[in-house]
Symmetry: C2
Subunit: 162 residues, 2 copies
Amino acid sequence: MPRRSGCPINLTLETFGDRWSLIVLRDIMFGKARTFRALLAGNIEGIASNILADRLARLVAHGLLSRQGDPAHSQRVIYSLTEASIGLVPMMAMMGAWGLRYRSPSPELGIRARLLEDGGPELWAAFMDELRHLHLAGPEPARSVMGELQTAFQAMSRGETV
Amino acid sequence: MPRRSGCPINLTLETFGDRWSLIVLRDIMFGKARTFRALLAGNIEGIASNILADRLARLVAHGLLSRQGDPAHSQRVIYSLTEASIGLVPMMAMMGAWGLRYRSPSPELGIRARLLEDGGPELWAAFMDELRHLHLAGPEPARSVMGELQTAFQAMSRGETV
């Protein structure tokens, strides 16, 4: 019978459960998707709708997402990152860096991971400030890391060198 | 139907599948366990023997562990980290740092995560050199990060402040 443990690595892994939770956070973090419909349509791994619904509920229950009704559409729910999930940016950057080095990502999907790794803690902090602006009504930062990543991704998608 | 994708974060997550693979790597990395029996007996989360067997095979298949027979015991197999799994040290450090900040780890299990985070890339590189020495017959480094972590863990376990 598995036991709980107070190991911080285990507690982090227990919070997610499986890869789909982190995939959903990735899509919200880097892809700007904020609704169930946008997350389902935009996910490149083809997440199933029941899995998406389950992981969104799980992420809300664990304090990694918050949900708000959209005043303009009574049936639409908007998901926001929390301080805890924004705090995952460095771990996401390290996951991407590892995949980049030891797996074979596609060049256009790998470029963002490369920029995140190369930018280091300074770029992560700027990206986290931008996410706080977009999700937690924090002040608008001068630098848009998301814009930089998107520009590089689009250039790679057109076959240009970045 | 889930699709493959070339996203480096997804490729990293796909490699592990679930948390038990990373728990097993954690035990080999920080706990020095190298055999099935030592991993089963030493795991504080109470991993089941069939799950341990499955994840060890999966980690070998993905190139994150190698297995060697022990010349002294014909039935005993010793597992070693590979360059790819040693490359997970920064990600493990970030996972521990997140758990430390946003979950409530026990103080004695949290101390290693705190030292790993505080030490940053310099300490991670020294730890990786030590793991290369222990698992890949690399040269013996002057600094033993594992010794530093173990000393701090034991002091915390005795109720001392580190």
